[in-house]
Amino acid sequence: MSKLEVDTIAPQSGTQVTLGESGDTVTIPTGVTLDASNATTSLPANVVTTDGTQTLTNKTIDASQLSGTVATSNLGTGTADATTFLRGDQTYASATPAAGSITTTQLAYNPNPFRNIIINGDMSIAQRGTSVSVSDGSNEGYQTCDRYEFYLQNAGSVFTWSQDTDVPTGQGFAKSMKFDVTTADTSVGSSEEVNFRQKIEGQNLQYLKFGTANAEQLTLSFWVKTNKTGIYIVKLYNSDSGRDVSASYTVPDSNWNKYTLTFPADTTGSFTNDNGRSLDIIWWLVGGSAVQGGTLNTSWRTNADASSATGQVNFADSTSNDFWITGVQLEAGTTASDFEFLPYDVNLQRCLRYYELLGSGTNYPLFNAYYLNPSAIYTVAPTKVTMRTNPSLVQTTGSSYYRFIRDSANDFFDSISIDISKTNYVELFNSTEASGTGGVAGFIRLNNASSYLAFNSEL
């Protein structure tokens, strides 16, 4: 073996130097460093061998030069198949989330059906009527949009309370509830109160876990439009435990605006698990000094008037003032989800639990009936849904407001009374004007344009 010792090998001519010939092996011994970092190198086809013992240092392989399939086992650990995906930590994991691993917290919205504690939040149902004039002592209570009660105490103002079609643009609502001041009251008495509210059954609130360490916070969202800007108050009142909390929102302009209020959980006061009134959601419009003063009460406490509406503007100070509201939603948690629109029939069904309009106007067909004896007409009327409690019968009365139609004859009477009332059936009778033959059957119609008949089991 001969040994050639030189410092540089350079081509004798041209620019190429060749080591060996085809079939030869050029050996670089162990411990020798082949430094080609400054060279422009054309890599041989098999520079990366299958045994993986050779590596590329300070070299880049353009992506367009890569081809073939990398074995899944070289990309990550775990089972690689059609049911898995490769995570960032080079682990194959199931593509299907484990049962129970996704909670509402991880979603951008609350997907729970009937998450809205409020009934008729879009104001679409108004069985009783669509407009009424309300003053203290006249037409208070439930008159327009189902489930909303209007309350006036020592108030000198008068309002037109109506279901309206002015709604926020592009939000999907068709109806709103409107309060229009028709007689102003610029001097608010100390005990004056004007507010509207919705009352909720306790058995619909048990999942809030009030009165326990796991009590949920509540978030109320709604759209309001009013020209009377300033501070408005919403109060929650737990009538079972006699506790209350308030929150405020500020109306900055006369546009439709969405307001979101989050109320704290109450670990002290619980809701009774029954069909009775448990929670009032109260929107203030006018509040006298008795409910103002100090700092607004924003923590659950033993119910009191003081500080429950501190800062509330006097909405009734001008006949120019109007107030619209729609899209009311109360839900568990600290986030207001998108309004939960219900089909009209579902919304109506929910309202029917509290009030059912049976009919109004001349010739409205009602029930089959018969003479139980010569002076008493009886009928049994079913309710459309199971009502909250044994309902009252609400009616207008007057001469011949009802007609009993029998074979070739009519008998007229003025009113109907309840004998027995149950949540699914109500036994009704008239024994003041009825006069006929016992056992004769027929049916009853309303018989006057002003006739009106309904079942009521509101809270």
């Binding site: 006249s138 009775g276 409690t389 009252s392 009616q395 009113s415 109907i416 309840i418 009332s421 003041t432």
Partner: protein, 60 residues
């Protein structure tokens, strides 16, 4: 606001419900004797505040 409350008697002359009229309203309610009914609760409150129920007896 309640105006008048009258007892209703059924064909067996049993007191079975109240007939209620209201101030400034043409509405009349027939109210069952059910403490969970809020109209019944309002009648009891009205009575407690001095309202007098009209009782014409049964036997019509």
């Amino acid at each position: 606001m309640i105006n008048t409350v009258t007892k209703n008697y059924n064909v067996d002359n049993v007191f079975c419900s109240y007939q209620v009229t209201y101030v400034n309203s043409n509405i009349v309610s027939s109210v069952p004797l059910d403490p969970a009914n809020t109209d019944y609760q309002a009648i009891q409150k009205w009575i407690a505040e001095g309202g007098v129920v009209i009782d014409n007896g049964g036997g019509e």
